[in-house]
Symmetry: C2
Subunit: 402 residues, 2 copies
C-alpha cells in the first residue's frame, strides 16, 4: 500500500465544464476507473460470465465486511436494504428499539411500524445522539425486544453512534438482533460485523464505497441467517433467503441485477482492498477533522454536539445574514462545489459537507477554499488563511500515520 | 424516420473478443450510445441537475406509454415493479385473477398470496395461454375480484396474451383493476395504457427498451392512482404515493436513484421516440416471424401452441440427440451467440431466442446462421440455406412497410 496514492491530487476528476466536485453525503465523487468499468459488454445474468463476476464481488465484499456469511447485493437503494432488515425478521407485535435523532431514524421507526411491529424510540435532539445507557435502560425495560436498530450515522444532522461495539455486546447478551443502518458510514468508520456482534449491516454503493448509486449491500450474521430461514417472509423482492439460495446454487441473483453497477462495484472493492480498511478509516477520520478544524478557524460555528460528531457528514451553522440558497447555488455555479443543506426544520439554518468515499487532500482543500471565498463574497469575514493552515496540518498528519 | 436506420448493420456492436451477441429475453444488446451515456459526471440526486434529467425522462416516458399520469421509475428489477402493483392495492382477503402458464405467472400468484390476498388462477399448459373466455368466466364467478393480473408475455415458455385490449375493456366493465406484468414485452407489442383500459403496466430497462438492467418502469391509470392515495401501503421502498409526491414536488425520487442508468434510459427513450412506437411493434413482429419461419425451414419443431406465440421469445424444441449444454455452450464459445434454455421441467427440452430491443436484420441473420451451423456440427441436418432465404424474405418485407 503506497500511502501517497490516496493523497495525491486526483488526475481523475475531469474537473472541467461539466464535472462538479460532489461534496455530498452521497452520492460521492466516483473515480474514473470505477465509472469506466460500467462500459463493459452486455452479458446475460444467467450465464457463467455473470457467475464469475458475482463470485469475485462477493468474495471481496466478505473480506471488507469481516463477516462469516456471504454478503447480499440488491439492485435498489439503501432504504431497501434497511427495509429488508425489517421485513425479513420483524413480525406483527414484535418490539424493536431504534435510535431516533433525525430523518433517517424516523424513517426506520416508520418502517418498523409498517410491518405491524412496535418501535421503542431512543430519542435525542437533532444534532445530538442517544447514549449507550439509553439503550441499556430500554433493553432492561423491554426484555422481549427482538431487535435493536442503530442508525450508525444520522446523515440528516451529522451525528454518529460512538458506542456501536458496546451496543453489539449488550444486544447479543440480551438475545436480540443488532441491526446497523450504516447506509452513510460503512467503509468510513470501523464496524467489523463479526467482532462487533452485529447481525445486519445495511449500506449502499454510493457512499463510502464511492461507486455510482443503485446497489444496496447487506452483510448478516449466521444468527440472523438462521432466523430468516426458520421464518421466511412471503414477498419476493426483499426476500433474503431467495438471494442466499440463488447465490449458493448458481452464484447469481434471483432477480435481474443492474449489471453495469456490478462491474463498477467490483472495481471499487479493488480500490478498497488496495488501500486497506484501517487506512480508509484513518483517512476519513483525518479528512473529517480537517474540515471541522478549518471551519472553526474560519470563524464558523459547527452544528451539533461535539461528542457525537460524525466523521463523514460535517454540519455547519450559517452565520447571520448568509442565506442557504444564495450560498449553495453560488458555491455550485461559481466554484463547482456541491454541498448539502439542512433537513426539515433545519433547512436554511445549516449546510452539510459530505467527506467520504475517495475524499482526499485535494477535495478537502478545494472545498474549504471555495466555501471561505464564497462566504467572503457574500459578506461574512471568513478567516481563510487560518482555515487552510489548520486543514493542511491535519492532512499532513495523515501521511505520517499511514 | 429513416426506415433503414434500424435495419442497417450495427456498427455499434463492438463484435470482437469480448462482446457477445446477446439473444436472450433480456438483458438485450445495448446500443453503444446508450451504454456510453452512463459515463456522465457524478451529480447529486437532490440537485437541479437531476431534476432536469428526471423531468426529461418522465416526459418522454409518458409519450411512449400513452398514459395520463406520470410514469414512475424504481431503481430495482421488473420483479419489484410487479410486486409494487400488488403491495400498493391488494390487501388481506382481496381476490385477484392471474394468468398462470409458466414461471412468471406462478411468481405473480405467489406474490399475491404474499400479501394475504387470494389468487384465482387462469391456468394453461406450458406453451399455451389462457383464453379470454377463461377470464370472462372467472370474472362472472367472482364479481368481487379487485384486480386482474395478466402476464402479457410468459417469458419462460414464449406464449403471449393476444387479447389484452379485450381484457382491459372487460375488467374495466367489472370495476376491477387491470394489471399488466409486461416486463418482457412492453415496447415490443402494442399496449397503450389509456386506450386499452390498463391500470398498471410493469416493465424494466433491459428488455425492449434496450438499456442496461437496473431500472423498473411503472405506468398507472388515474383510477389506480386515486386508489393508492385513498388506501396507502405502509412500507417505504415500493410505496408509489411517495414516488408520485416526490416527483410532483421536486422532480426527484424519494430514494437515491441509480443515476448512470437514468442517463442511459434517457438516451434509450430518445431512440424509441426517433423510431416511433408503431415502427417498433412492426419491427419486433417481423423479426419474430423471421425467426419462426427460419427455424421451421431449418427442419426444427417450434415449441408451444401456434396461436399464442410470442413476438419476442422464440421457443424451439431440441431435435433428438442434441443436448442443451453442448448446443448452448458451443453456440456461445464458438459463435459468440448467447440464447436461453428451458425453464423448470423444460430444461434440456427447448431453447429460447430473445428477439427484442434493438433487434435488427444483422442480429436475426447472424443468430440463424450460428444456430444452423452449430446444429449441423452437432449432427442435426439443418437446412440452413432455406432458413436464411425465408428469414431474408421476412426482413426485406420490413423495409417495404416502414
Amino acid at each position: 500500500m503506497n500511502s501517497f496514492t490516496i493523497l495525491k491530487m486526483s488526475t481523475h476528476s475531469n474537473f472541467g465544464t461539466f464535472q462538479k466536485l460532489i461534496m455530498l453525503p452521497g452520492p460521492t465523487n466516483v473515480p474514473i476507473e470505477v465509472t469506466e468499468a460500467m462500459i463493459s459488454p452486455s452479458i446475460g445474468h444467467r450465464t457463467s460470465d455473470f457467475s464469475s463476476l458475482m463470485d469475485k464481488v462477493v468474495r471481496k465484499g466478505n473480506i471488507l465486511f469481516e463477516c462469516d456469511e456471504n454478503i447480499v447485493i440488491l439492485t435498489a437503494s439503501g432504504t431497501a436494504a434497511v427495509e429488508a432488515s425489517i421485513t425479513n425478521i420483524l413480525r406483527k407485535g414484535d418490539k424493536a428499539i431504534v435510535t431516533v435523532c433525525g430523518e433517517f431514524g424516523s424513517r426506520v421507526s416508520e418502517q418498523i411500524s409498517g410491518v405491524g411491529a412496535s418501535p421503542i424510540q431512543l430519542i435525542a435532539d437533532y444534532g445530538d445522539y442517544p447514549s449507550l445507557s439509553d439503550l441499556e435502560r430500554a433493553l432492561e425495560t423491554n426484555p422481549d425486544t427482538k431487535a435493536v436498530y442503530i442508525v450508525t450515522n444520522e446523515t440528516s444532522s451529522g451525528a454518529m453512534c460512538h458506542w456501536l461495539k458496546e451496543a453489539g455486546d449488550l444486544t447479543s447478551k440480551h438475545g436480540a438482533f443488532l441491526i446497523a443502518d450504516a447506509v452513510s458510514n460503512w467503509g468510513a468508520d470501523k464496524m467489523p460485523l463479526r467482532d462487533y456482534n452485529i447481525d445486519f449491516i445495511a449500506t449502499c454503493s454510493q457512499k463510502s464505497i464511492a461507486a455510482p448509486p443503485g446497489l444496496a449491500l447487506i452483510s448478516i450474521s449466521t444468527k440472523y441467517k438462521d432466523q430468516i430461514f426458520k421464518d421466511t417472509q412471503k414477498l419476493h423482492f426483499l426476500n433474503l433467503p431467495r438471494y442466499i439460495n440463488f447465490f449458493d446454487k448458481k452464484s447469481q441473483t434471483p432477480f435481474t441485477p443492474a449489471l453495469p453497477l456490478y462491474f463498477a462495484l467490483d472495481k471499487a472493492f479493488d480500490l478498497m482492498l488496495d488501500e486497506g480498511m484501517d487506512n480508509r478509516y484513518l483517512r476519513h477520520g483525518y479528512c473529517g477533522k480537517a474540515f471541522y478544524d478549518a471551519f472553526e478557524a474560519m470563524g464558523l460555528k459547527l452544528f451539533g454536539v461535539q461528542e457525537v460528531r460524525s466523521n463523514t457528514v460535517i454540519s455547519v451553522a450559517y452565520p447571520d445574514g448568509i442565506k442557504d440558497k444564495d450560498f449553495r447555488s453560488s458555491l455550485e455555479t461559481q466554484y463547482g462545489v456541491v454541498v448539502a443543506g439542512g433537513f426539515g426544520d433545519y433547512v436554511g439554518k445549516l449546510f452539510r459537507v459530505g467527506s467520504l468515499g475517495m475524499v482526499n487532500q485535494y477535495h478537502v482543500l478545494t472545498t474549504i477554499s471555495a466555501i471561505g471565498n464564497n462566504l467572503r463574497r457574500l459578506g461574512f469575514n471568513a478567516n481563510l488563511d487560518s482555515a487552510l493552515d489548520v486543514a493542511m496540518k491535519n492532512l499532513t498528519n495523515i501521511r505520517s500515520k499511514l
